[in-house]
């Protein structure tokens, strides 16, 4: 009886692995590719080394303005103004409060992943925004009040985006459901709202909120400017969410709707238990796309005099002692935006994986 003997694994044929092989197949497979690769490499050579030199090797990281000798980035500006970029005008001795909120946010996200009990999750979700709000604005439990005029920087950017995202989500779902409703008045109202809001740019809504609305209030009634902007952004975002969710709803086969009715579920039961979970799941990529674009849109609040992180760069650049540091400021903000948006898209991927029920 012939016995099978394991053969020694042989190394791959020479020239079919390793860096040289990879280069050969991917970059220099024929004359045209080789040329393109060479041009590409030349472009990299032209841009990357000067960029690295500017950002790192020739940069100034410490000392005062008079001591700057290097030709690269003067990061001392960022270091000097760092607190303002992050907290705006928030009083220095109270910086621990936004810091605490940031840590709570991380804890909150972890808790949502770890907790299995849905009820405790919902309680947590309802409670969390209030805790954050009280911590930031103060005025309760002996915390010093900080007026919204003092909120600014990255803190404000994240806050505006977070409020916009969280508050617009339920409103958007309701609008999407209303748009598909059989009730004519409700449907017309929802369509009217969605189409009206989508027909005007965010900047218009912000201007309305900051410039026109106050003229209609009576003397003495002061409506916080940030609150006005937040309401405007939320309504704006809700219209877009509604359309994204509608896309998801329409992708659900009719059989699912009929099945939920056949089971004797009421409209809301059917929606909450059967339709929405499926519809929202397939909407996740689009939802996140729209959230990321909202995050970047929040910077428009600078045109109504709120100091988000980008407005903070402009403001810090008008300090007569620190003129001419725009480039450093903008590069810094670019990095922050990239980190935030990239984190959001990665987080959405992890959610997608979690809800992936396909086999």
């Amino acid at each position: 009886m012939a016995t099978y003997t394991m053969k020694e694994a042989k190394p791959a044929p020479s020239g079919s692995k390793g860096i040289i092989f990879w280069l050969k197949t991917n970059l220099f497979s024929d004359v045209r590719n080789s040329l393109l690769s060479l041009v590409g490499l030349y472009l990299i050579y032209l841009t990357i080394p000067p960029l690295l030199n500017w950002m790192i090797f020739d940069a100034t990281w410490s000392g005062t303005q008079d001591e700057v000798v290097n030709s690269g980035a003067r990061w001392i500006f960022i270091i000097e103004k760092f607190d303002q970029f992050i907290y705006g005008f928030y009083p220095e001795h109270l910086h621990w409060r936004p810091n605490l909120v940031a840590m709570l946010c991380v804890a909150f996200l972890i808790a949502l992943k770890v907790l299995k009990n849905n009820k405790s999750k919902i309680v947590l979700m309802l409670l969390f925004p209030f805790v954050c709000f009280i911590l930031i604005s103060g005025g309760w439990f002996g915390l010093e009040t900080v007026e919204t005029e003092k909120w600014g920087g990255l803190m404000l950017t994240i806050l505006v985006a977070a409020v916009g995202i969280i508050a617009s989500f339920p409103i958007g779902i309701v609008l999407a459901l209303g748009r598909q409703s059989d009730m004519p008045i409700l449907r017309t109202l929802c369509i009217g709202f969605i189409e009206f809001v989508r027909g005007v740019p965010l900047i218009t809504i912000l201007f309305m909120a900051s410039v026109v609305l106050p003229l209609f209030f009576h003397d003495g009634i002061e409506f916080d400017k940030l609150l006005r902007a937040l309401i405007g952004i939320t309504l704006f975002q809700a219209a877009y969410i509604a359309e994204v969710v509608r896309g998801g709803l329409q992708a659900i086969p009719k059989g699912q709707y009929e099945a939920s009715e056949a089971l004797g579920l009421s409209y809301w039961q059917g929606m909450i238990l059967i339709i929405l979970p499926q519809a929202l799941k397939i909407s996740i990529p689009n939802l996140v796309g729209s959230f990321i674009s909202l995050f970047k849109d929040t910077t428009l609040v600078l045109i109504i005099g709120l100091f988000d992180i980008l407005a903070m760069v402009t403001l810090t650049n008008s300090d007569t002692n620190w003129l001419g540091y725009e480039v450093e400021g903008y590069v810094f903000v670019t990095l922050i935006y990239w980190v935030c948006c990239f984190t959001m898209s990665q987080y959405s991927k992890s959610i997608e994986r979690k809800f992936n029920t396909e086999h």
């Binding site: 000097e80 103004k81 303002q84 705006g88 005008f89 220095e92 007026e147 005029e149 201007f207 900051s210 410039v211 026109v212 106050p214 003229l215 209609f216 209030f217 009576h218 003397d219 003495g220 002061e222 400017k225 600078l302 045109i303 109504i304 005099g305 100091f307 407005a311 402009t314 403001l315 810090t316 650049n317 008008s318 300090d319 007569t320 002692n321 620190w322 003129l323 001419g324 725009e326």
Partner: protein, 337 residues
């Protein structure tokens, strides 16, 4: 049809509340804080330093009024406003005083329901040139290349100025002010033109500020001043005389450091200014030491100017038109008596 339109009109009119705020002075005293509209960052005029403290010549206007009315220069709430929303914020009562480098023009003064209380800075369009041109006056700029932002008033003024002087210029046109400056920085043109107060800021942004200079000529009028709501004459008086008090103090040589000693001065003008005689304060509805508080806490006009935009600041703007009337400038305070 007509009835519906009428009803609509009546409804709209009713919805717009009266825009008058009867007694701002009283309001400010009750709130114990002055809501002052400033810019979102104009170097030397209103900008925040690294500690988040607002500084600038416009900010000092706010501080002066707060010292006069509340006796404390720090009782100001700064409300940063963009150029577009500044006048609405004042009309709607969100702010009590607008000190945001706003040019006093007929249209603004007459059609917006606002009043300019005075001029705290005489600005105007000037030229920033590269020194290698070797000229010292705008009149010698014939044939020079300008970096210009398309469609601005500066462009119109420049064309007018060159035409009326029988000179010509070559233009390199850009879309934004940032690009315009960049063009100048890179040597695409010999000169840029903008409001003089801005040019000194731009100068500092050059890689080597010593290679450029601001020419002495000013070719347009841009009087900048504090603005209040129309129809509240008391408040208007308070703001106007707060500005005059700072100017008068400079003229009389009263400074923040010698104000206390000056209280004992025998000079009748100083006595009236500082409130040891006369009833200027009382007539304004303020305490008798209102002007003393301004000078003591904020300083006289030259102190404000030098510290924020003048020789003690990095901007180092020449006082030019902003000198006192008896030193060749336009700053003239009405006498306090």
């Amino acid at each position: 049809m007509k009835v519906t339109k009428l009803a609509l009109l009546v409804g709209l009119t009713a919805a717009i509340p009266s825009l008058s705020h009867a007694d701002t002075l009283q309001d400010v005293m009750e709130k114990d804080v002055l809501n002052c509209g400033v810019s979102t960052g104009i170097p030397g005029f209103s900008a925040a330093d690294s500690k988040g403290v607002w500084k600038g010549i416009d900010v000092d206007m706010c501080r002066s009024v707060a010292s006069a009315v509340l006796g404390d220069a720090s009782k100001v709430k700064y409300i940063p406003l963009t150029a577009k929303e500044r006048f609405t914020a004042l009309q709607s009562g969100e702010i009590d005083l607008l000190a945001r480098s706003s040019t006093w023009t007929a249209t603004r003064d007459t059609s917006l329901g606002l009043n300019f209380a005075g001029v705290n800075y005489y600005d105007g369009q000037g030229f920033l040139i590269s020194k290698k041109l070797g000229v010292t006056s705008a009149k010698e700029l014939d044939g020079a290349t300008f970096c210009i932002q398309a469609g601005t008033t500066s462009e119109l003024n420049l064309t007018d100025y060159f035409k009326s002087n029988g000179m010509e210029y070559k233009a390199v046109t850009y879309d934004t002010s940032g690009q315009t400056i960049d063009g100048f920085k890179k040597g695409r043109c010999d000169a840029v033109t903008s409001d003089a107060s801005q040019l000194y800021g731009l100068k500092l942004k050059m890689d080597d500020p010593n290679t450029v200079m601001v020419l002495p000529e000013i070719i347009s009028k841009e009087p900048l001043g504090p603005v209040v709501r129309q129809g509240d004459d008391n408040w208007f008086n308070v703001v106007r005389w707060s500005l005059f008090a700072a100017l008068e103090a400079e003229e009389l040589g009263v400074t923040s450091s010698n104000a206390e000693a000056m209280m004992k001065s025998e000079n009748p003008s100083i006595k009236r200014l500082l409130g040891t005689t006369g009833n200027a304060g009382e007539n304004l509805g303020l305490k008798s030491d209102w002007a003393y508080q301004i000078v003591k806490q904020v300083g006289n006009y030259s102190e404000m100017f030098d510290k924020n935009v003048g020789k003690d600041s990095p901007l180092n703007i020449d006082r030019g038109l902003n000198k006192l009337w008896n030193q060749g400038g336009l700053m003239y305070a009405m006498p306090i008596r």
